[in-house]
């Protein structure tokens, strides 16, 4: 469970990114975060992986108060929370296989153990044939699926997706969405920040709308 209590986030330059955020996301929920550019969607996601700390308020993931989290616990948190980005954030000098394997390498897993696991995830996601390609050789959809594979390989409890369809065409966007839904049905909490009106309206999931850093609406089967 992810819980935000009276969260305020002010950046060093005085910009008030978020204020009065009170939000609870239950396990295995699928939540869309929508709003205009600059509404605070990305900041909200960054708070969950402790990439930034709130100026005031309390935020907890599975009962752990993130503000008080030690360095080691922060690493554990990030390994528990997968992250998918609009601009992919793949290492350009590594193949699909190596990019996905990275998430296991950093926790010190042995190459022997890594190989079958990476291949399993790539099969699940339909990228096994592209495993030796470099990111520059991939289509947008393939690149995004690689990122999802990297996020999934650690078997995260939570998957955060920051505009994962922002750079993709309509059809590919739906492929990615289907994949995220499937991941959600397998038991992972999915929080997705998006601009995509079509997707939000058709899926009828919980929608949290941000406006100027505040929650404007929070509806169970919401629309954009």
């Amino acid at each position: 469970m992810i819980q935000f209590k009276n969260i305020i986030k002010k950046f060093g330059n005085g910009l008030l990114a978020l204020s009065d955020i009170n939000l609870v996301v239950e396990n295995q929920e699928f939540v869309f975060i929508t709003g205009k550019s600059g509404a605070g969607k990305t900041t909200l996601l960054r708070l969950i992986i402790r990439d930034v700390l709130p100026t005031s308020g309390v935020i907890s993931v599975d009962g752990d108060d993130l503000i008080k989290l030690s360095g080691k616990k922060t690493l554990e948190l990030r390994r528990k929370v997968g992250m998918v980005f609009q601009d992919f954030k793949l290492l350009t000098d590594r193949t699909v296989f190596e990019n996905v394997a990275l998430a296991l390498e950093v926790v010190g897993r042995k190459p022997k153990e890594i190989k079958p696991e990476v291949e399993k995830v790539l099969t699940q996601i339909g990228l096994l044939n592209q495993k030796d390609l470099f990111p520059i050789q991939l289509s947008g959809g393939e690149a995004q699926r690689t990122v999802i594979a990297r996020a999934l390989i650690t078997k995260p409890k939570i998957l955060l997706a920051d505009e994962p369809t922002g750079n993709l065409d309509h059809v590919t966007s739906w492929d990615i969405l289907k994949l995220l839904e499937e991941i959600n049905q397998n038991g992972t909490t999915v929080i997705m920040a998006t601009h995509n009106v079509d997707i939000v309206n058709k899926l009828k999931k919980r929608v949290v709308v941000l406006e100027k850093g505040k929650i404007k609406r929070d509806e169970k089967e919401g629309k954009y």
């Binding site: 992986i49 360095g71 554990e76 990030r78 954030k89 793949l90 190596e98 998430a103």
Partner: protein, 289 residues
């Protein structure tokens, strides 16, 4: 990908920065190498002179053996002499021949007549040298020259100290420069890899997982730089040994024992790698909080 592979990739993908780092390390460790050998050599030379007869008296040809004997008795009477050794003209020639046996031209020119007889006086302690020297100088017999080793030792000590001071200052300065250059090179690479580092952090890499390749990189520069410096300096020493040997005849310094050079290699690699690792640590501390 393993740690070493990542570090090697960093090194290989920016050859000019790698070259800069290695060259400054090479220069620093070469200077260190030269001064290490110089400091060692000068202390060997100093020991040699300290353990040798400290006053040598050269006599004019007309001096009789009895006169020399009476001088010997006088010196012995002070009880400050540890040994006295008379070297006649013939013995001097024998020594000369031994020293120059490889050079027939020099041998042809010299006969026993042109070499002076001499007396080598060793004092029990360096501080008695002045007194013994005075006794010899007051002797009314025909003394050609008194070579007072204390003068040589004093000037050697001041030379040795000068070499050490210059060495320490110069090597210290170069070490600081190397440290800063490695800090800059590694800092630049951290800058170039900002995005990669961000990604690593997001997938949960620990700080040390991210830092280690950079620290390996610094160690690599130190290792390569100091090994090359050692190779070059050893090469130069081997090349110069025949010339220096004739100049330092009798002093047991050259050729340098390989085991000693291996010790120097160990010291240099250790120092070089420490400098490289310290530079990298400073860089990750500065740029990779």
């Amino acid at each position: 990908m393993t740690l070493l592979k990542t570090a090697w990739q960093h090194i290989r993908r920016s050859p000019y920065q790698t070259l800069t780092a290695i060259m400054i390390m090479l220069l620093t460790m070469f200077a260190a190498s030269v001064f290490l050998v110089a400091a060692y050599g000068s202390s060997v030379i100093l020991n040699y002179f300290e353990s040798k007869p400290q006053i040598t008296v050269f006599f004019k040809d007309e001096v009789k053996r009895e006169e020399i004997n009476s001088l010997e008795d006088k010196l012995k009477g002070t009880e400050k002499v540890s040994s006295l050794k008379y070297i006649s003209k013939e013995e001097a020639l024998a020594i000369y021949k031994e020293q120059n046996k490889d050079d027939p031209l020099l041998l042809e020119l010299v006969t026993a007549n042109i070499l002076p007889a001499s007396l080598e006086v060793s004092a029990k302690d360096v501080k008695h040298l002045g007194e013994l020297n005075n006794i010899i100088k007051n002797e009314k017999i025909g003394i050609d020259e008194v070579v007072y080793q204390k003068d040589i030792i004093d000037s050697l000590i001041s030379w040795t100290n000068a070499i050490r001071t210059i060495g320490v200052v110069l090597v210290g300065f170069l070490t600081a420069t190397s440290l800063l250059i490695i800090l800059m090179v590694v800092g630049l690479k951290i800058g170039q890899k900002k995005e990669e580092i961000e990604i690593l952090r997001l997938v949960g890499a620990s700080n040390w997982y991210i830092r280690k390749p950079f620290i390996f990189e610094g160690a690599f520069y130190g290792f390569i730089g100091s090994s090359l410096a050692w190779l070059i300096s050893y090469g130069l020493i081997i090349y110069a040994t025949p010339y220096l040997s004739s100049f330092l005849s009798g002093i047991p310094l050259l050729p340098l024992a390989p085991i000693l050079m291996i010790k120097f290699l160990g010291i240099e690699i250790l120092t070089g790698m420490s400098v490289g690792i310290t530079g990298s640590l400073l860089a990750v501390w500065r740029y990779l909080r």
